[in-house]
């Protein structure tokens, strides 16, 4: 068996741009247009996902995440470039692509909440043309797979948010897709539930060799997935690759120093301001927070004030700050 890392990509997005044009005059007669001038949602985005990989698509609101997912599922066409799933063009061979893709929308309104978990899946299975006798087995297997086997006859309305998310995941998995596209799968789920859901997604990805594209606003979750990140900002792919390489490029340890008093903290901040490799982020009372390339060298700069230091804490830069800095750098 070949290692997933050396397999060729199953999802390929190549030079994809999307410009939303304002509606024509006759279209405005039907529906009020959301825009008055062309809006660039994606610009020259390229990425690839291999079987067994999770690609987290992150970015602020309006970054183009949903547009990217819609292009991949054939719901929107790109203005230029192309996206392929196992070699099939998502624009022109949309139905073939949809056979290979399982999609989980952001909210759970699309579930039939007055129907049981089994009925929800049975409906979608029958839509996909599956025979009823096969479907019963497949539905039960899929519900077991996502940990809903015990709740198969429970109505959607009686499920917790976490269980509904699992039911949506089951629906996306029912036809045994090779690619999963999950639009903010944990958005309605509490932290414990979302951690469990992500671990489930991670396990399914590895065990079934799925290629997963997942968007989330919860960056600590992305951090926990230990896989690739596509960071979009205003339609532009700012970073694409594993988190480790992003950190190598950008990360400097965050050092929090507590002084004996606030005067010492302010004096130390002044002294560190002139140091080349140190950025003082905040001085809050007796506590100074700074980013430095090397902790030891930073402490040397405090020569004469080390005696006022009560404690030093070094930590990794939170992903949120890392990504904020990427955005800030683009703005500069």
């Amino acid at each position: 068996m070949t290692s997933p890392k050396v397999q060729s990509p199953i999802v390929e997005v190549t030079g994809v741009s999307k410009v939303y044009e304002p509606s024509t005059w006759w279209m405005r007669f039907l529906l009020r247009s959301a825009i008055d001038e062309p809006v660039r949602a994606l610009h020259d985005v390229s990425l690839a996902v291999r079987p067994g990989e999770v690609c987290a698509v992150v970015g602020p609101n309006g970054a183009g995440k949903s547009t990217l997912f819609r292009i991949l599922t054939g719901l929107t066409t790109p203005t230029s470039g192309f996206s392929r799933v196992r070699g099939f063009d998502a624009q022109h061979e949309s139905r073939r692509v949809r056979k290979l893709v399982g999609f989980m929308p952001a909210d759970d309104r699309s579930l039939y909440l007055r129907h049981t978990c089994r009925q929800n899946l049975m409906f979608h299975g029958r839509l996909q043309g599956m025979r009823r006798d096969q479907l019963h087995v497949l539905v039960d297997e899929t519900l077991d797979l996502v940990g809903l086997g015990h709740a198969r006859d429970r109505m959607g309305i009686a499920l917790s948010s976490g269980m509904r998310a699992r039911l949506q995941l089951a629906r996306a998995l029912l036809h045994r897709p090779e690619v999963l596209i999950l639009d903010e799968p944990t958005s309605n789920v509490d932290p414990v539930g979302s951690y469990a859901l992500l671990k489930l997604i991670e396990r399914l990805t590895r065990e079934h060799g799925l290629a997963v594209l997942l968007s989330s606003h919860r960056l600590e979750e992305i951090d926990a997935l230990h896989d690739n990140v596509a960071f979009l900002d205003r339609g532009v792919l700012v970073h694409w690759g594993d988190l480790h390489s992003l950190r190598d490029l950008w990360e400097r340890p965050r050092i929090v120093i507590q002084f004996a008093d606030s005067a010492s903290a302010r004096v130390a901040a002044k002294q560190l301001d002139s140091a080349s490799d140190v950025d003082v982020a905040t001085v809050d009372g007796d506590t100074l927070t700074a980013f430095a390339g090397h902790t030891g060298r930073m402490l040397v700069q405090l020569d004469g004030h080390l005696g006022d230091v009560v404690s030093i804490e070094e930590s990794r830069m939170p992903l949120r700050e890392l990504l904020t800095r990427l955005v800030e750098r683009r703005e500069v």
Binding site: R70, R98, S110, L127, G129, R171
Partner: protein, 279 residues
């Protein structure tokens, strides 16, 4: 030829399975909200009762086949069934868009062309039940029909539902872009109720409107049904069953392909604008 037929059979089976899935879902949804299912059926029974009393006031001349009540009951029941064909797709589509389910349907590996048939299935069944109930109550209240005309009447009504559904696909194609407004259906239904002779003979209309009434399939359905079901249809205006069936077949053969073409174009345009998933 035989290989083409061999390929057609699995496709037809698959299509039937998908249409069946929608009908099954509609049925389970009706069971989930029983009052919402039964109440419209009960209110539909008001019309035969109202027209029972109206018929006491109206002269039953030859233009209404010597029984105004039978004339009106046939019109009301047929109109209910054809309204199902007309509105089923657009109203179910509207509900799916508002509920956020349309996006989920579009990402299923299902031919988008089958959605107008699948989405309409259950609503057509419900409207047909409503038509049968109205017709049955009419019979109980004294409407008099020729039972031998029923088989042809069923053929005519099925064609009428199909003709309505074909127009409904055009309406759905507008709705998938407009999301709420529905100019096609609104205009068509108003014209159909006014001009096709649901509760009065088309012959009463002024000539220009009478000419317009023959552009609407409803008119042919109603006239054909009255010709085959009424005991004395000699004074009924409009074509008899044979010509009406031929014209309805022609209408269906022309409007269905156009409707499906328009549906495909609307979806393509919606994809370009990026409005398919919104509401």
């Amino acid at each position: 030829m035989s290989s083409a037929l061999n390929g057609l059979a699995p496709r037809a089976q698959r299509g039937a399975r998908i249409a069946g899935a929608f009908v099954w879902m509609g049925y389970t949804e009706a069971k989930a909200y029983p009052l919402a299912f039964f109440l419209p059926l009960v209110t539909a029974l008001a019309s035969p009762v109202v027209y029972y009393f109206v018929a006491q006031l109206v002269d039953s001349g030859p233009s209404v086949g010597d029984s105004y009540y039978t004339f009106a009951i046939i019109g009301l029941a047929a109109n209910a069934a054809m309204t199902g064909g007309l509105t089923a797709f657009a109203s179910t589509l509207d509900y799916a868009i508002q509920q956020g389910r349309f996006e989920t349907l579009l990402v299923e590996p299902v031919r988008w062309r089958i959605l107008p048939f699948g989405l309409a299935g259950w609503a057509i069944v419900v409207y047909s039940i409503s038509a049968v109930l109205q017709f049955s109550l009419g019979l109980i209240l004294g409407a008099d029909i020729r039972v031998t005309g029923l088989p042809i009447a069923v053929i005519v009504i099925v064609l009428g539902i199909l003709a309505g559904h074909a127009v409904g696909i055009i309406s759905g194609s507008v709705k998938v872009l407009s999301k709420r407004s529905d100019p096609v259906l609104g205009l068509y239904m108003t014209l159909a109720f006014m001009l096709s002779g649901v509760v009065f003979p088309v012959g009463l209309l002024p000539l220009p409107l009478r000419v317009l009434s023959y552009c609407i399939p409803h008119t042919y359905v109603l006239s054909a049904l009255r010709h085959v079901l009424m005991t004395d249809p000699s004074g009924i205006t409009g074509p008899e069953a044979g010509p009406a069936i031929a014209l309805l077949l022609l209408f269906v053969a022309l409007v269905y392909p156009f409707g499906l073409w328009l549906w495909g174009r609307a979806l393509d345009y919606g994809r370009t604008l990026g409005v398919l998933a919104g509401y």
